[in-house]
């Protein structure tokens, strides 16, 4: 057992943290500390069982604890060997920074079998629930202190589907998982007031929230992913058809309002047609009663969702119009030659892409520049993923520069 523990500990201690972004580095350092504390807990158990007189059964104890250590090693690998590009961290970090009300928020991305959200403390508690009754009788005094410490320093783990690690256009789905964290920490269940009390309400509200924040690009990512990996209704999730229906409701309203500037207004029509086609193919599998519940949830919560977004930023439609306004202003003042003053719209990003130059645009603008029919045909073009990653990097750099400039005295 100790050999197994030592090799996992060595693995965690020597794990490479050579990453370009400071906030990512800090998050990984924190994760590393928590995993080492988790190992301390297993060591306490091991030493505790060693204190028992077990001449006939120590082999079974060693085996049991070893199999649990194996799980920990898998969790460590999922975080530290995640293949997703560092720029995905930029996207999620921007989202959390916007909505976590100014408080710095550390998180890690992990390669998993599905999109999911958890935390290191939750993972540990799940494991300990299978280990802790009864505890060894020796040396357990410090155990609760370490467990409490892990919970205090807990870190959200946002998991992506391992099959999607190189699919940049699935990244908006990470925002859905990140929002689960905000939903619980900021007690956003007030959104659920007056909604039909269905078990999957939180999932539905989060889809509504993200689609209203991130726009058609989220709807497209969601439908593309769910069409490929459909799931039935479960206790916590509405069926994939219902989730597409939520996105469809959003797109329908956007089209009705008809306020989006060109070319986004045209692109929305394409996204709507695509989602409608997918929904029409599968709608039979969703009972009418569920569709009614989804519709009701949308109608009841839409205004509150938009208000909540507006507490921190603008909902997608308003954000797009505001971007156009700011862009015009920069041009009118003749300040567009200074890169840090540039405000890029969807049409700018599309033009940059055609020239093969990364664009320092807001992530919402970048992702929503790839929703037209023509761009969607390029979905498997490696150039698209590369362009988005490099654009996020350039945008992050620009903001870091502006922040540094603002801090500079004089």
């Amino acid at each position: 057992m100790l050999d197994g523990l030592n090799s996992v500990e060595k693995h965690v201690r020597t794990v490479s943290l050579e990453v370009p972004y400071v906030f990512k580095l800090e998050s990984l350092e924190k994760a590393k500390e928590l995993f080492l504390k988790w190992l301390d807990i297993y060591k306490m158990y091991t030493n505790g069982y060693r204190g028992e007189i077990l001449p006939r059964t120590s082999r079974h104890v060693i085996r049991m604890l070893s199999s649990f250590t194996n799980d920990l090693e898998n969790q460590v690998r999922e975080v530290f060997e995640a293949r997703i590009a560092s720029e995905a961290y930029l996207l999620v970090n921007e989202f959390l920074k916007t909505f976590a009300r100014g408080t710095p928020c550390c998180f890690v991305l992990a390669e998993h079998k599905e999109f999911n959200q958890t935390s290191i403390g939750t993972l540990l508690t799940d494991k300990l629930n299978n280990l802790s009754q009864p505890r060894p009788r020796v040396g357990m005094a410090n155990l609760d202190i370490v467990i409490r410490d892990i919970k205090i320093r807990d870190l959200p783990v946002i998991c992506y589907d391992h099959g999607q690690f190189d699919n940049v256009l699935s990244w908006p789905l990470l925002l859905h998982e990140a929002f689960h964290y905000l939903y619980s920490t900021q007690r956003l269940d007030r959104l659920a007031k007056d909604c039909p009390q269905v078990s999957w309400l939180e999932e539905a509200l989060i889809d509504m929230y993200i689609v209203n924040y991130f726009g058609p690009a989220y709807a497209l990512s969601l439908a593309t992913y769910l069409q490929k990996y459909p799931h039935e209704k479960t206790i916590t999730h509405p069926s994939f058809v219902s989730r597409i229906f939520i996105a469809l409701k959003y797109l329908e309203k956007v089209q009705e309002d008809n306020k989006l500037p060109l070319p986004s207004s045209e692109h929305v029509a394409h996204v709507f047609d695509y989602l409608k086609r997918v929904w029409d193919e599968h709608k039979e599998s969703d009972p009418l009663e569920v569709q009614d519940q989804v519709s009701k949830v949308y109608d009841v919560a839409e205004r509150k969702v938009k208000e909540l977004i507006s507490e921190n930023t603008l909902p997608f439609g308003e954000f797009l119009m505001e971007t156009e306004k700011r862009r015009r202003k920069v041009y009118e003042k003749g300040e567009y030659e200074y890169v840090e003053n540039q405000v890029l719209s969807v049409s700018d990003v599309m033009e940059y892409f055609d020239y093969g130059i990364p664009a320092a645009a807001d992530p919402r603008i970048i992702f929503n520049s790839f929703i037209s029919k023509g761009r969607q045909q390029m979905i498997n073009d490696r150039r698209t993923g590369l362009f988005i990653k490099e654009s996020l990097k350039k945008w992050h750099l620009k903001n870091a520069w502006l922040e540094a400039k603002a801090r500079k005295p004089g």
Binding site: G4, Y49, E52, I53, L54, P55, R56, T57, R59, H60, V61, R63, M64, S66, S67, F68, T69, N70, D71, K113, D126, K127, N129, N130, L131, Q133, P134
Partner: protein, 119 residues
């Protein structure tokens, strides 16, 4: 769901191991202990749910699932028999009976381990 199932398999492994530990401690101390109590609360339906239920997809590696199905009744009857002994452990006259129980339950655990990840 798969992760949840893995955790419930670990739970069974943990509680059966506690049974083994408890019997071992009993042989040394000649008195009942918390490990034995934990083992006694393990129910047949919990074992079936964790290892063998078809209601939850992707339970175990398919080849191992078939193998485990064959062992189902043997494992269950072994746990049941061990629980009977543990329930009246204070009145067991010979240590041999408890040692046989440890050996038999231990062998069944070897089979279970073949179906779950191990270092």
């Amino acid at each position: 769901m798969e992760e949840k199932n893995k955790l419930s398999v670990q739970n069974i492994i943990g509680r059966v191991t506690h049974g083994l530990v408890g019997m071992d401690i009993f042989l040394n101390e000649k008195k009942s202990n918390d490990y034995l109590k934990d083992f006694l609360t393990l129910r047949e339906d919990e074992i079936k749910e964790a290892f063998l239920s078809r209601s939850v997809p992707k339970k175990l590696i398919p080849s191992h699932e078939a193998e485990l199905s064959k062992e189902e009744s043997a494992f269950l009857s072994c746990v049941r028999k061990a629980q009977e002994i543990v329930a009246k452990i204070d009145r067991v006259e010979s240590d041999r009976e408890i040692e046989d129980c440890i050996n038999e339950l231990g062998s069944r655990m070897d089979i279970i381990y073949a179906t779950v990840p191990e270092r």
